[in-house]
Symmetry: C2
Subunit: 413 residues, 2 copies
Amino acid sequence: MTTTRPLAGLHVVECASFVAGPTGGLTLVQLGADVIRVDPIGGGSDHLRWPVAPGGESYYWASLNKGKRSVAVDMRSREGQELVLALATASGTGRGILIDNVVGRPWLAHERLAARRPDLIHVRVQGHPDGRPAVDYTVNAEAGVPSITGGEDHAGPVNHVLPAWDLIAGLSVATGVLAALQQRARTGEGAFVELALSDVALAGVANLGWLSEAADRGGERPRHGNHVYGSFGVDFACRGGSRVMVVALTEGQWRALQSATGTVEVFQALEKALRADLRDETERYRLRETIAAILRPWFAARDLDEVGKELDAARVLWGRYRGMADLVADHRAGAHRVLADLTLPRGGSAVTARSPLRFDGDHGPAGECAELGRDTEAVLAEVLGLTAAEIGGLHDRRVIGPPADPNTERKAR
Amino acid sequence: MTTTRPLAGLHVVECASFVAGPTGGLTLVQLGADVIRVDPIGGGSDHLRWPVAPGGESYYWASLNKGKRSVAVDMRSREGQELVLALATASGTGRGILIDNVVGRPWLAHERLAARRPDLIHVRVQGHPDGRPAVDYTVNAEAGVPSITGGEDHAGPVNHVLPAWDLIAGLSVATGVLAALQQRARTGEGAFVELALSDVALAGVANLGWLSEAADRGGERPRHGNHVYGSFGVDFACRGGSRVMVVALTEGQWRALQSATGTVEVFQALEKALRADLRDETERYRLRETIAAILRPWFAARDLDEVGKELDAARVLWGRYRGMADLVADHRAGAHRVLADLTLPRGGSAVTARSPLRFDGDHGPAGECAELGRDTEAVLAEVLGLTAAEIGGLHDRRVIGPPADPNTERKAR
């Protein structure tokens, strides 16, 4: 078993904002890469994104950018742009890796970067593939998901709240960087890898077969509330009001559910009466309302503890609806190894996560959250070999930030 | 620019089902790896998963497993298990990579595999980290998302229909494989990488800051329908009924929205009257209903074409709500390079996707869909060096499938 993390030795520059690009960098940093995040002085437009701590710091920014080194640069200035270009294309085997979501800025055009380091790996997140902007909320609307979400009798779209396409794009960024490294190791060549959020969404719905089905139907499939599409799965209320999600995708799961709820004979009789074979998930889907209605009293007659015990004993596939506050309480009780506490730069603490990927049993560290620009001087000295005098000059010209307080400034020179 | 795909030379064995594991393999195969998918003879429990084509083939299975080579093996037999172990641990630089979601089966325990090939890369998808089963629908309930999804006055959970955690897990699998390869190239060591779907969901909500916020509130944040949380974004109906999603996360986007809708002075006056500063997204979130009410008549007075033209001219961030059937029509008109047509093994066609990652402008091929077990003989001959006689024996003993028809069978021997 290695004691270092899998991506030790890699150095990635991240010049991105909001969820997708930063999730890519977070994924890599949690696997052991050194990720240098470059922000405008004072922070980008995601720096105070909700949710925020009582003191005003963004839980969102802190969690998505923990573990990274923070460099703050005035990217509107020519000197600041030159610093970003130099960091992204610095020489070294594990260097020359850039993640950005900067579209339509000539100073960070891929050609300019590749001219400085031809084997650069450059992964760029876009809204649409033609460069038009888009965010999770707009591409989700365009991908058709809100029109099949929500209750059967709901009119109008139901947006998801989870920025799912952003998160999928973030993991795709990590995959793209690592695939390009594989290629660079084999051929010596770099790669310009573009990833449009809208393509991530289109690929998602296409790969699930949803577009093919709409083509057959010539329209949208019906909404089905909390039912699982094409099989049996739905939520039930227990005595006392707690709710559970119960799923029977396979024949074994369906047998388990009947057995736990004592309904084997009921469904046998029903199958006979309706000439249906409920071992077939298509039939379970067709008769989902009937099945749910038959099962509902069993759940209503038991509290959550009883339901859980009996379902587990019969190996039913189920989950309890939890609130986020419940998850925090579980975490405080030590329940989830993937979760961790994070100290915010100005004090206060957040609940954050380690990598869900356990390498040889180890989630790795969650990472610390840097105050914006904390590592600017150290990174410029280490990666670009700038002298203290040169760094002082950049400070004086306000090319790098944050404006150091006089004491720190004196020490740094 | 290379002419081969980035992951050329890698050989991955996939022994997984449903969405997460297969999405991992799909991601790798679309980037150029050779992925050998192993299924039970006749198909696993995901083989006929909805949606299905009129002829009964699964659009879902075909799309998630295209591009892969298909091997069908009776994994209940000792001989079949031995074939899977041998394929997963075959020697060669680009081999020794296994993706599975097989939990609690001693024959495929990691230790057994690692004993045969110590530098094996083995990525295993689980439900819960302790091995208890879970699927997207149950972990989503457990992660608290359904309780903050849907309309303000909705009671009870609103499940998402997108298996978002599965897709994120799938990309995490691809990332895990490639990170382990990076480590193997550096240290010569293999890795056992476990990934629990429930951890993927917990990490997702934690990294967005949602758990921290629930800890502060001591409970759940309110549902907010189609509004974007913590900023301004909501859907509007245009004249004729088409709907659009409009978002103003940044100050620039907010200025653009006011400018497009001719409401600059209205909001100036409102800010004065309410002593609010709507340049601050927190304030826009607080006053979201008021802002939406002021903007609504502008949308209602214009049809979609007019709305789109005027929003684009002012550079507003927006998207149109589309149906999946609309996306298919766009695809037929050549609109989306990421989408592709897929021929089903028994005829008929599906709409599927290429990789959203464009390496040097290229999405790569979508991949063909193999009939179940098509490549069994070729793979056993190529990877394990089995002779035609040995393969014939496996057929006779029904260890491999599908039962070849007599003509093919004669030729194969």
